[in-house]
Structure formats: C-alpha cells, structure tokens
Point group: C2
Chain length 423, copies 2
C-alpha cells in the first residue's frame, strides 16, 4: 500500500527542524565522483596511507590481537583507554603541550569532538566565532545545535585580530550568548595560512576580555614543510580546548581523535559522550597506542613531511606556470591545502562540471562559508594525496578550465554585461 | 590566576541547557568500581570475548592489514563500506529480514544509531514512546534533543499493547509531536522479556493508525537459549527502523552497528552523520566484514549461546535457591539480563554500598526509568559475563544483602514505621 512517494512524505513530516535544510555538500558529492580512475582529485583531504610502513602497521595491530586482545575486543571506558591517552599525552609534549591523561578524552576522529563540543555547549542562538572561510564539516557539527555562526576573515598571518575585535565589540562584553571561537591556527583548512605568534597572544587576551572558549583544532600542526614550529594556543593558556587527531600523522581509517581540556570541561563532555556512543573503538585505541610507542613513527612522520612538502612545491610551481594572472593563492608552510582567489565575478561552483570533464576536481570556495555565498570566486586545492606529476597535470587541466571561463567573462565584460567592481 | 573553582564556574556558565542536568549514572559508576578483582559484577552488559577463537580474529584482522590495507587505513564513506554492508545484509537474512546495502548505514555501535535518530527526528517537546523500564543509554541519546519520553510498562509478553493504546489515545491521533516508539522486542534490556508475535502485529497496526516510527533495537535477537525465533518487526513492515550490532555476536571493541531503514530515511540520517563523525572506523568495518565472510562465525555463535544459556540457568537456579520469597524475577529466553522485583518499600539503590562490600554489583531499577523514581524496588542482573560458579556465589552474596535489608524493613513494618501498600 505504501508507495515510495508516500514514504518520502512521511519522513519529511517527521524530521527535526535542525535537519530540514541540511543539504549534501558539493565537496562530498565530488568526493564520490572522484573515485573515477581518470580523474585527478584536488578536492579531498586524504593523507597518503601508502607511505605507512607495513611492518609498523603489523606490529601495532599484532598487540591488539595477542596480549591486549581481551581489552581490544571488549567495551572500553567513555573517555578512552588510559594507556592510549598516556601515549598521546607523551607525543603532545613534542609540540609544547603538557597535559595529563585525565585532561584528555578520546573521540571518534576530531569530527566527533566538534559534535560533542556543540552538544555540550551550544543552545539555539548561541554565538560561535570561526575563521571565514573555515572547515565546512566543523560548521555541520555545530549547526546541529542551531547556533549563530559569525565569520572573521584571515590574511597571510591568520585570523585578523582587528576584525575579530570589531566583531566582539558588536557582540558586546558579558554577552552570555557568546560561547566559543573555533580556529585552525596551523595551515588552516581551507586557507593554508598560519596564525602568527603575535596574533595567538592577542586571541588569548581577547578570550579573557570577552569570556569565550577557544577551540584550537590542530590536525596538521606536525606537517610543516618550512619555517619553525609555532607554539600552540593550548601551551599558552590551559583554558584552551585543544583537538588532536591521528588522521594525518597515522591513519584516518582508525578513528582516533582527542580533546584536551580542563578536567571540569571534560567531565561535562564525557557525560554527553555516554549518550553519543558509550565508548569509542577500543581496538583502534590499542592499535594507535602501540603505533606511537612501539614503532619508529617519527621516522614515518618525516617521510610524510618530505612527500607532502614535495607535492606542495609541485602545486605552487604549477600554479605559477599555468594559472592566469587574475588568480592569486596562499603559500602554506605546511598542511594539506591552499586557497585560490579568482576575480570577484567568477563563480567556481559553476566550473565543477567542466573541471570534472577535464579530469580534475576541486572544492568551490562557498562551501567553506556559513552563508553559502561568500567565497564563490575561490577554490580549495589539496596537495597531499596525488603525486607531483599528477598535481602538475591537474593544475594544467584546471588552468585550462579557468582560462576558458575567464575568456567568456572577458567577452561579457567587454560587452558591458558584467560590471567589474573595484577590488 | 585561575583557580580550579573559577574554572568550574566558567564551565557551568557556558554549558547548554540540555546538559545542565545530566548526571553520571549509578550504573556507570558501579561499572568503574567493578574492576576490583574481588567483586563479581552482575551490573555490566559485557559479552565474554574470551569465547572468540584466536584464529578467527587473526584471519579477519589479517585482511585489514594486507590486501585491504589501503581501504582499511583510509577515510571511508559516511554510510560505511559497501562490502561490509553487503556482508551484514547477508547475515540479516538468517533472521528473516531482507534488506539491500542501500537500505543500511553503519554506525559506531548501535548507540550512535540512537543518537543519530534523535538528532534527525527529535525537536524539543516531541514525544518518544519507550518500554518502562528500558535501556537507559537510549534515553540519554534521545534526551540530548529534549523530547518528552513516555514509558509503557511490559509484562512477560513484552510491551503492554492495551496500555500503549491508552497512551496513544491520550496523545491523540494526528499529533505531530508523536515521532517514534523505541522497543527492544527480544530479551529486552533490562527486562529480559520478549514481545509475542501477536503484540508485534498489534504494534505495527498501531504505528500506522497513530503514525509513528517504530525503532526496533535488536542487539540480542540471535542469543536465544530456549524457544523458537521470533520474526522481527522489520520483516513484517519495511517502514520499521531496525538497529543491529556486532557487539554481542562478535566484539564490542570494534564499534560496528547498523541502521536498516527506507532509503529516504537513511538519506536524512546520512546528512546528520557527516557532521557527527564524517565516517566510522573503516579498519573495524573491514575486520567485521571478513569475520562474517571468512570465519566459521555461526559455530562461534553457538558457543556463545551454549555458554550464556548455562549462565542464565545458573542464575535462575541460584535465585530460586537463595533469594527471599518476597522477590520475583523474569525468565528470559535469551539475551543478557533478567529483572528482579522486590517489595514496593525496598529501595535497591540504597543497597549498592552493602552489595559492593559483600563483593557483588547490580543495577538499581530506577536507572531504567525516565523519572528516576519508578523501579526503585527493582534491579537488573546480568548473566553473560561471569562463570556459573561466580554467578551462583554472586546471587548468594546478593541474597544475603537483600535478606538483611528485608529484616530491617520487617522490623520497621512491625513497629508501624513503614506502611505496606496493597499490591
């Protein structure tokens, strides 16, 4: 009796307000398309796991299926296995952050951390500050709790503190609705820019002055290809909530991320996590613990750094060679991405089909903004996954697509059909 | 400058309304206590993973670190790996449910499924019907979205359809706030009771008449120690949302659960899941897929059934032998738990400390009710984890604690300090 049409109606009738307007993202749809073998993908954000040594994997997994088997196959604690947290605290020390296992909670990737933070802290209408553009799936995680998201632009030195301060003045001191600021200070996604030491210091000052929590998301911090290590915000103020993940320094197929926060904050998050998933994968936790204690993971990390650095160089060189003079881009010192800006009248989203046909994918810039409009003339390019040869070829293909589009626009401009604003 | 006290104040100031009243559960606190080696735990809900054959584990894991390595270590799709879904669809056929991989979405344990269903379908004030008592962490998952939860009592034949119908009449036909009914029809947690075929049929009729979604949570369905298989609700109506998990038939340390639902429902849930965790552990998915295709898992399942059946028998025999005449309990045909009812004037929560001292843990009944009051004279006992000898000893210890408490109550009753209500 029930037809497919009736079924769909039934669901529409039942869904919560918060999901009524959720749409599949262009990025994800492309991600799906990018499995076609002839396409070179600059749209994803995948590490190259083929760089991981087979022996290290075997060693780490071996522990989980032999000595630690009874633990690895059983339910674990909501906050994550103590020994795994200890191993991750140990590796945090290299980057200047000293935390104890009781100040750390393991999550199913850093993505779950974002979701838990939203659920723990955000009521409808609360204010969250983010970089604009920012990591689009952080926005999805927060949006489930219906906050107001305010974007603050960045430049080559990271989030602009002058614009943040203006925004904070608008919000007002003592505004209870202001809950948190979310930042990716190192090699930002999608911008590729890094927050300077001076701005980090200023951000912490402002967080005290205006009383908001700083969420420091640091998936790429260890993947630096030039310049010196920047001290994390967390190392400068232990009120900061720091998010880490093994996804880019080991393997995202094992879903292990972590939250470092003061114990009272973690106690709240832990209660929320009980309802979210009871506990994470203990099997994955045991494997991760042994990877970071029993294998030469620092050597593997150097291999990642060398490889990704070469790929970044290949992309920068190809952009220089092939991209039109109207385009500009960021020069990331590390991480996975760079951000290309085209003239304001260009809509990169409308170029996706042509790009796919030409055999290359990218992420249109508007996916990284809350309003879905800003950033339409921009694109995010990933350089971590493809070989330098493929990257060069992909940029050549993409340049051709852009050039054709610009030709068209130029004709419109010449005919007076498009007004070119002063930039 | 910041003292621990100030930090705590800061957090209280920031947390969302939905978590303001969350409390750590007595069950979980006990769970933590139960790691003391002298204590026999009847409070947990753990399978005995020591029953898993080492060779099967090795075989399943081997696939993940060799041939399937590139997949197992990399990001996966939000809905879960197709091949894993296919393997799980195949094993669903044994219990009478025919679904295709596109009608299945993998979750991080069935707990995440509950959370995703809440996020996708529940607005504040929406109505969720549940068995009373029910699985307490399902309530936590739903409570994040602030619904009204209405409990419907069960008897030995499962949820009482007459009382459900009365409740539905109170709610009213066409009430848009009524979203879903959550049930564990097989060997209910905590009740141990199973819904009869007749009541299943009636439940489906009522779901159409009053237009609500049925969520059928079935973690224990295959663990039947007597009687014949009951046809799942999902097999009788494909509008039903079915939740499965490998936690009780393989290993909960690998967090793999699944939702079977019509494709339009899954499409909504999938969008929500992107923000929740991007994707689950592909490593765990590959291991599970190979466990259910390359190992004699059915033989291992028979070993689970034989072992847990003996443990249930040991518990029933010990209850018969040691428990006072004032106590009654359910006779589960499968699953992990049974439910003990003591006289109305007994508060089992207040016996926890004595029980711990006597070397045994249990779950007080009020943890399984929304109001935190009903069920105070009840307790849930788990029989899956301890050996028959331990179970017998634990029941002997627990009986002594109860007997001492009843002695005390009897003295109060004799002195007229407690009124015994007519039951």
């Amino acid at each position: 009796m029930t037809t497919a049409h009736m079924k769909f109606d039934q669901t529409s009738d039942k869904i919560a307000d918060r999901v009524r307007n959720l749409r599949s993202s262009a990025v994800r749809d492309l991600f799906a398309a990018a499995v076609r073998p002839d396409i070179i993908s600059l749209s994803g954000g995948m590490p190259d796991v083929s760089l991981l040594p087979q022996r290290a994997i075997q060693k780490a997994v071996h522990a989980a299926i032999t000595d630690e088997r009874a633990v690895a196959l059983q339910y674990g604690s909501t906050n994550g296995r103590l020994e795994t947290r200890q191993a991750l605290c140990d590796i945090m020390r290299d980057i200047g952050v000293r935390v104890k296992p009781e100040e750390m909670l393991l999550t199913s990737g850093a993505q779950q951390a974002l979701n838990l933070l939203g659920e723990t802290f955000l009521d409808k209408g609360d204010i969250v500050l983010v970089e604009g553009p920012t990591y689009l799936t952080a926005l999805s995680a927060f949006n489930a709790y219906e906050p107001e998201i305010h974007s603050v632009p960045f430049d080559d030195e990271g989030m602009r503190m002058d614009l943040l301060e203006e925004e904070l003045k608008r919000i007002g001191k003592g505004n209870k609705r202001l809950k948190m600021l979310y930042t990716i200070p190192n090699f930002q996604n999608p911008g590729g820019v890094t927050m300077t030491g001076e701005r980090r210091k200023r951000l912490i000052e402002l967080s005290h002055e205006y009383d908001f929590m700083i969420i420091e998301d640091d998936p790429y911090g260890r993947l630096r290809y030039e310049g010196g290590h920047m001290v994390p915000l967390k190392a400068q103020d232990d009120r900061v909530i720091y998010l880490g993940t093994i996804s880019k320094i080991f393997a995202p197929g094992l879903r292990i991320g972590w939250i470092c926060a003061p114990v009272d904050v973690l106690a709240r998050i832990s209660l929320v996590k009980q309802g979210a998933d009871l506990c994470g994968s203990t099997f994955d936790q045991v494997v991760v613990e042994h990877y970071f204690t029993d294998t030469p993971w620092q050597r593997t990390l150097q291999k990642f750094i060398k490889t990704y650095g070469e790929r970044r160089d290949a992309m920068l060189a190809a952009l220089e060679e092939y991209f039109p003079p109207e385009a500009s881009w960021t020069h990331p010192e590390g991480g996975f991405f760079l951000w290309v800006t085209l003239p304001k009248y260009v809509d990169t989203g409308s170029m996706l089909a042509d790009a796919l046909e030409a055999g290359v994918t990218f992420c249109p810039g508007d996916s990284f903004y809350v309003d879905g409009v800003t950033g339409r003339n921009c694109m995010r390019l990933n350089f971590s996954y493809e070989t330098p040869e493929n990257i060069t070829e992909a940029i050549r293909r993409l340049a051709k697509v852009i050039e054709e589009r610009l030709e068209l626009y130029r004709a419109f401009i010449d005919a007076g059909a498009i007004k070119v604003p002063e930039e």
